[in-house]
Amino acid sequence: MSLRVLLALAVVALSGPAVAQPQPIRIGAFLSVTGPAAFLGDPEQKTLELYVEKINAAGGVLGRKLELHAYDSAGDAEKARAYVKRLIEQDKVDVLVGGSTTGETMAAVPLAESAGVPFISLAGAVVIVEPVKKWVFKTPHTDRMACEKIFADMRARGATRVALISGAGGFDRSMRAECLKVAGKQGVEILADESYGAGDSDMTAQLAKIKATPGVQAVLNAGFGQGPAIVTKNYRQLAIGAPLYQSHGVASKQFVKLAGDAAEGVRLPAAALLVADTLPASDPQKKVVTGYKRDYEGRFKQEVSTFGGHAYDGLMIVLDAMRRAGSTDKAKVRDAIESTRGYVGTGGVVNMSAQDHMGLDLSAFRMLEVRGGDWNLVEPRH
């Protein structure tokens, strides 16, 4: 009897501190883990799970464990809205990370703004941070930056008269619009503006038209999915001499595999993560991208993607802000995120400000050229 009491007392005594342990930090995520944008949401979710686990094993943040609340919004803006409501009202999360697509992000923006929850989006479009919204930040590059990077590279090669060919998807159209907008400022003249449909199997007609347009010095394909690979093949078939540029939308090994030999010589802007192994040791991003690549590929046995990297950056920026704020008070964390300076992530070096809730500049993009079936850095460091 007395032994039992003793044991019971011992148990209470030992578990005492555990009861008094602080509340976990709740991270709310809504990602397109399934559905048409699964290639975005899947690596994002894996990345968040992997690093929440790692950080908890190392003792957590501010002495508190992390708790991930993740929902699959399946690329659907309506679902995203419902889950974000649930994350804010029921799960009472301290911060929101997610919105794999621009549609899902924009559906969540009003909720995050009115509830006052710091929100880091993982989607690409400029509208997310322009105009600046008090509680909303984003980690991926924008398509405008991709256009600027490509035009700058074209100019460096003496090509200022450019033909544009783009697909019909959301990404394609958004990038086309941005490129048309910044072309003038970049000193580039758009001579032709062709497009193709989502399921098109042949773009030789459009490309033959570009070929016949006098004065074209370079061609830019703003596209996503299989379209750019078909364009690349058709481009070589027609033996067009001008250099071909693709967008960061196809910055994956998949593109090189699909387009095969036709991809040789194609240039595109991409995040440093894709060329982690070939970056010079002096590169500021070398350490973080090789580290993330090793962690991710070691754990999931699949090739790292820039999308997972965006989730990594989002989580790290939030945790860094919490450490600096010394609390998870939402307003303080928001201010700390906004004052992020010199954070080196997989997407680039982030310097946020009250006017810039993305904080990346053109150095975040590397210009790559396909040579020998692999990526090669065109410039040692811009």
């Binding site: 098109d200 007609a205 033959a208 078909i230 027609l238 033996a239």
Partner: protein, 291 residues
């Protein structure tokens, strides 16, 4: 300028030949059952995806093509046996809806069994473009055109020179009379689904080296094939071929000379115009008794 026109024509014919094969599949099933099989595009997808999977597993190209067409044929037969035949007495509209359901099921299965990635297929005989009077042509395009031609010839022989083919034609002309003559309608139905599936898969395998393949390519190719079949006159073999080629040419010329933004629109405007002004299609032979 004429080199440009030639390029448009060659591109249009190549894509048109694929549309023609898909349209033939629609025509064959329509003849046997009056059903428009909206799972036709899925046979195209199965052909391409299965061939890509077989090649990934190390099989040589000819065997992969053979196996993938066989697999699609089996799927077609199963579709007929498990979904269409049990509902034989149902109105045609019900059967059409069944095929729509089957197409969604097949797409989902393909995404599960294989994956949602885009897959390439090696070209049958190299990728070096062939120059033709200032325009260029991929060797694969010759395969597409040649195989389509050979298939059309084989189908003509099948329908005009073999007993099974003639039985199928008889069923398409008058089902009851054919049945009274001792023709097994259910067998004709099974053969028509198998044959259509094989044609679709063949189209899928032929086009995959040019435009890749993925779990969802069947939607657009099926729709274009349907447009081609309607344009040519549903149920007519020569009509399906003419409709397919015409559609491919319209798309290429429209994209080349007018605006590429509306490439798909041209195809469907032509389809609407055909339905309104030529309800029996280019080669319509049926009177208006079919509703």
């Amino acid at each position: 300028m004429s080199a440009q026109l030639l390029q448009f024509l060659l591109s249009g014919l190549t894509v048109g030949a694929i549309y023609a094969l898909v349209a033939l599949g629609f025509a064959i099933i329509y003849n046997a059952s009056n059903v428009i099989n909206f799972a036709q595009g899925e046979f195209v997808m199965i052909g391409g995806m299965a061939a890509a999977a077989f090649i990934d597993s190390g099989l040589p190209l000819p065997l992969s093509v053979l196996f993938s067409v066989t697999l699609a044929t089996l799927v077609g037969l199963l579709l007929e046996k498990l979904a269409v035949e049990p509902a034989r007495g149902a109105p045609v509209v019900t059967l059409i809806i069944i095929t729509i359901g089957a197409s969604i099921l097949l797409r989902g299965l393909a995404a599960l069994v294989w994956d949602k990635k885009i897959h390439p297929l090696p070209a049958f005989s190299g990728e070096a473009p062939i120059a033709v009077g200032g325009a260029t042509l991929l060797p694969q395009a010759l395969w597409v055109l040649g195989t389509t031609l050979a298939t059309v010839a084989a189908l003509w022989w099948f329908f005009n020179r073999t007993l099974t083919g003639k039985a199928m034609l008889a069923v398409s002309h008058n089902r009851l009379a054919a049945q009274l003559m001792g023709i097994s309608v259910s067998r004709v139905l099974a053969v028509s689904f198998g044959l259509s599936a094989a044609l679709g898969a063949l189209a899928g395998v032929l086009i995959a080296p040019i435009s890749f393949t993925a779990w969802d390519v069947g939607v657009m190719l099926g729709l274009k094939g349907f447009a081609a079949a309607m344009l040519g006159g549903i149920g007519s073999g020569p009509g399906a071929v003419a409709g397919g080629l015409a559609l491919g040419l319209i798309e290429a010329l429209g994209a080349g000379y007018l605006s590429s933004a509306y490439k798909d629109v041209f195809a469907f405007i032509v389809l609407l115009a055909a339905l309104v002004f030529l309800p029996n299609g280019l080669v319509g032979r049926r009177a208006a008794e079919r509703v």
